[in-house]
C-alpha cells in the first residue's frame, strides 16, 4: 500500500469536511452518457435528505438577503449617530447598535453580501485553476505532473492562515486581496482531487476508445474525463464555500480583510471583541450569522456528497 497521506490533504483547513473525506469519484463503468442518470439519481436522493434541503433553503434565503439587502435594511448600515452608540437590542434596533451608533441588524444583513462574495468567488477561482492543473497533471502525467504536484506540495506545506498572511503581506489588506489569498489556499484541494479522479478515469475503456478514434487530447479531457470527474469537484466546492467564509472572516478579524467602515461579519466580530464586556451583542450576532451560513453550506455539501456517492447509503 502506497503511503500517500498527502493525497488526502487539500487546503490544510481550519478544519472542514473537505480535507478529510475527499469524496471518491463516482465509479462509472460505462460511457459518459450515464452521467445524466447519475445526476438525476443524486437529485432524487438529495430531495429525501431533510438536512441537505434545509441547508439549501438557508443558502437561497441568504442569497435573496444579499441581493435585496440595501432595500430591506431598517437603517443605513453606515449611518453613525453617537447619541445612540452601544445600545442593546430594542424595538427600534433589533440587534442593538455599535460603537458608532450604527444599526447592527442592518450591518449584519449587508454583511451577507460580503460573506457570499468572499465565500463563492475564491472557491470558483480556485476551482477553475485547480481543476485545470489537476486535469493537466493527471492526464498528461510525467514531467508536467511532477512540476505541478511539487508546487501543490509546497502550497500545502503552509498552514492556511500563514499562506494567506504571506500573500496579504505582499498584496496589502483589502477584500479583493482576501479573495486572491483564499483562492490560492484552495487551489491545491481542487488540483489533488481532480488529479486523483483523472488517474482512474483515463484508464477507462471509453477514454481509450476516444483516443483510438483519433480525438484530440483537449477534446477527450473536456468531453470524457472532466464530464466524469464533476461529482467530487462539486461536493468539494460546496463544502469549501462555508470554510472560505470562515477564512475570510478570520482575515478580516485580524485586520487584513474588509476595511472599515464597510460592513463585514469578521470586522464586526473584531470590534465586538473590544466591547465584549459592555456590548456583547456586537460580536454575538455577526458570529451567529457566520455560523448559520457555514452550517447551511456544510449541511448541503454533506448531503450532496452522500447523494453523489451511493456507496455511503
Amino acid at each position: 500500500m502506497a503511503l500517500d497521506t498527502q493525497a488526502m490533504r487539500p487546503a490544510a483547513g481550519l478544519g472542514a469536511p473537505p480535507p478529510q473525506n475527499p469524496p471518491p469519484a463516482p465509479q462509472l463503468a460505462s460511457a459518459p452518457r450515464t452521467s445524466a442518470g447519475l445526476w438525476r439519481d443524486a437529485a432524487h436522493r438529495l430531495r429525501r435528505d431533510h438536512a441537505a434541503v434545509a441547508g439549501l433553503v438557508i443558502i437561497l434565503l441568504l442569497l435573496i438577503i444579499a441581493i435585496v439587502a440595501p432595500q430591506i435594511t431598517p437603517y443605513d448600515p453606515n449611518d453613525q449617530s453617537f447619541r445612540i452608540k452601544l445600545k442593546p437590542p430594542s424595538a427600534e434596533h433589533w440587534l442593538g447598535t455599535d460603537e458608532f451608533g450604527r444599526d447592527v441588524l442592518s450591518r449584519v444583513l449587508v454583511g451577507a453580501r460580503v460573506a457570499l462574495y468572499v465565500g463563492t468567488i475564491p472557491v470558483i477561482v480556485a476551482m477553475i485553476i485547480g481543476v485545470t492543473l489537476g486535469l493537466a497533471a493527471g492526464y498528461y502525467g510525467k514531467g508536467l505532473d511532477q512540476v505541478i504536484m511539487r508546487v501543490i506540495d509546497i502550497l500545502l506545506a503552509f498552514p492556511w492562515l500563514l499562506l494567506a498572511i504571506g500573500i496579504m503581506a505582499v498584496l496589502g489588506p483589502g477584500i479583493n486581496n482576501v479573495v486572491i489569498a483564499v483562492a490560492i489556499v484552495y487551489i491545491p484541494a481542487f488540483a489533488r482531487i481532480v488529479r486523483g479522479s483523472v488517474l482512474s478515469i483515463k484508464e477507462k475503456e471509453y477514454v481509450e476508445a476516444a483516443r483510438a478514434m483519433g480525438q484530440p487530447n483537449p477534446q477527450i479531457i473536456v468531453r470524457h474525463v472532466l464530464a466524469n470527474a464533476w461529482a467530487p469537484i462539486i461536493v468539494l466546492a460546496t463544502l469549501s464555500i462555508g470554510q472560505a467564509i470562515i477564512y475570510a472572516a478570520g482575515l478580516s478579524f485580524i485586520g487584513l480583510g474588509t476595511q472599515p467602515p464597510n460592513a463585514d461579519w469578521g470586522v464586526m466580530l473584531s470590534s465586538g471583541r473590544e466591547y465584549l464586556r459592555d456590548a456583547p451583542w456586537l460580536g454575538f450576532f455577526p458570529g451567529l450569522a457566520i455560523l448559520i451560513t457555514v452550517l447551511a453550506f456544510n449541511l448541503f455539501g454533506d448531503g450532496l456528497r452522500d447523494a453523489l456517492d451511493p456507496r455511503m447509503q
Binding site: M1, L3, T5, Q6, M8, R9, A12, G13, L14, G15, A16, P17, P19, Q20, N21, R150, V151, D153, I154, L155, A157, F158, P159, W160, L161, L162, I165, G166, I167, M168, A169, V170, G242, I246, A249, G250, F253, I254, G255, L256, G266, L269, G272, R273, L276, R277, P280, G283, F284, G287, L288, I290, L291, V294, L295, N298, L299, D302
Partner: protein, 334 residues
C-alpha cells in the same frame, strides 16, 4: 523502518527548499524597495544601505537567493522593525506558548472526539448518534474567534470561572526554559505558576479544540462503522466476548489508523486556529506576534514567522507519516 524514515526525510528536503523559494519570491513581490521594506519606512538612508549590504540586496538575483537561503538555514532573519529584537530570538520565545496551546487543544480534541465518535457509531441511527453528529457539524461550522468571544463573555465575564485573557497571572514568577508556561512550571516544580498557567490555558485550548474535536468525532464514527461490519468482529462476538471489549480492543484499535492521519491533517488547521485564538484571548504567541507584525508592516518578522512555522509544519507531517507507518502493519516501509 529506518529506511522508510530516511526516505521520508529526503522527500521533505525539496519541500523545505520549495518553501524557502516561495517565501523568497513573495519578498521579491513586495512593491517597492525590499531593503526599505526590511529596514522599515522610518529607517535612515544609512540603515537602509546597511540592510541592503547585510542581506545582499544590492547583488544580482541569484546571489540574493543564495543570501536568502543562508539566512533561512541559519534562522537569521534580521531584527524586528517593531521591537528591534532579533526575529529568531522572538520566535523562539513565542514558539513554546503556541505549541503548548496547540498540543493542549489536540489532547482535548482527542479525549472528547474519539469517545464521541465511538458512541455515535455504536448507537448508529439512534438519538445519541444524531445528537453527537449535529453537535460535531455545528462545531465544524463555528469560527474559533466567535466561540472564543462567546465563551469569554459567558464563563469569564459572567461567571468568573476563567481569566479573561493572558497566559499567566500577574505577579507570578516563573523561570522560563521552554517558554511553554505550563511545561516550565512543571519543570521548575513551581506550584502556583502551574495552576495559574493551566487556568489560563484551559479555555483557549478548549475553544481551539472545537473544530478538530468535531472532525475527529466524525472520522472516528465513520472509521468505526466500517470496522464494526468486519468479519473478525462477528468472530469476536461469536466467541462470546463482552461488547465493551469488542468495541475497544478489536474495533477501535483498527479504526484508529485513519484517525491518526486525520490528526496529522488537523495540525495545519490547528496552528492557524491557534493564531486566531491567541488574538482573541490576548495570549502571547506566534499568532499575536505575526498579527502585530502585519499591522506594523514588519517584514522581517512576517518572513521569519511564515518560514519557521512552515518548516515546523513539514516536520509535524513527517512525524505523522512515520507514526502512521508504525501503527499500520500494512504500510510498506520501502
Amino acid at each position: 523502518m529506518t529506511r522508510f524514515i530516511v526516505r521520508r526525510i529526503l522527500l521533505a528536503l525539496p519541500v523545505l527548499l520549495g518553501i524557502m523559494t516561495a517565501v523568497f519570491i513573495l519578498l521579491q513581490l513586495i512593491p517597492g524597495d525590499p531593503a526599505l521594506a526590511l529596514a522599515g519606512e522610518k529607517a535612515s538612508v544609512e540603515q537602509v544601505e546597511r540592510v541592503r549590504e547585510e542581506f545582499g540586496l544590492n547583488r544580482p538575483l541569484p546571489v540574493q537567493y543564495a543570501y536568502f537561503l543562508k539566512s533561512a538555514f541559519t534562522l537569521d532573519f534580521g531584527a524586528s522593525l517593531r521591537t528591534h529584537q532579533p526575529v529568531a530570538t522572538e520566535l523562539r520565545q513565542f514558539f513554546g506558548a503556541t505549541m503548548e496551546l496547540s498540543v493542549a487543544a489536540l489532547c482535548i480534541a482527542l479525549l472528547i472526539g474519539i469517545p464521541a465518535g465511538v458512541i455515535a457509531a455504536t448507537h448508529r441511527a439512534q438519538p445519541l448518534d444524531y445528537g453527537a453528529m449535529l453537535i460535531a457539524l455545528i462545531g465544524i461550522s463555528t469560527p474559533v474567534f466567535w466561540s472564543g468571544i462567546v465563551l469569554i463573555y459567558l464563563l469569564s465575564f459572567r461567571l468568573g470561572l476563567f481569566p479573561i485573557g493572558g497566559i499567566i497571572g500577574t505577579g507570578i514568577k516563573l523561570d522560563r526554559i521552554t517558554d511553554a508556561y505550563v511545561l516550565d512550571s512543571i519543570l521548575t516544580l513551581n506550584g502556583p505558576a502551574f495552576w495559574s498557567s493551566l487556568h489560563h490555558l484551559l479555555l483557549p485550548a478548549f475553544v481551539l479544540a472545537t473544530i478538530p474535536m468535531a472532525i475527529i468525532a466524525r472520522m472516528t464514527r465513520s472509521s468505526m462503522l466500517e470496522v464494526l461490519g468486519q468479519d473478525y468482529l462477528r468472530t469476536a462476538r461469536a466467541k462470546g466476548l463482552r461488547e465493551q471489549r469488542i468495541v475497544v480492543r478489536h474495533a477501535l484499535k483498527n479504526a484508529l489508523i485513519p484517525i491518526v492521519t486525520a490528526i496529522g491533517l488537523q495540525f495545519g488547521g490547528l496552528l492557524s486556529g491557534a493564531f486566531l485564538t491567541e488574538t482573541v484571548f490576548g495570549r502571547p504567541g506566534l499568532g499575536r506576534y505575526v498579527v502585530a507584525a502585519i499591522g506594523a508592516r514588519d517584514y522581517p518578522a512576517i518572513q521569519g514567522t511564515v518560514l519557521v512555522v512552515a518548516i515546523i509544519f513539514v516536520f509535524i507531517n513527517l512525524l505523522v507519516d512515520v507514526a502512521y507507518a508504525a501503527i499500520d502493519p500494512r504500510v510498506h516501509y520501502a
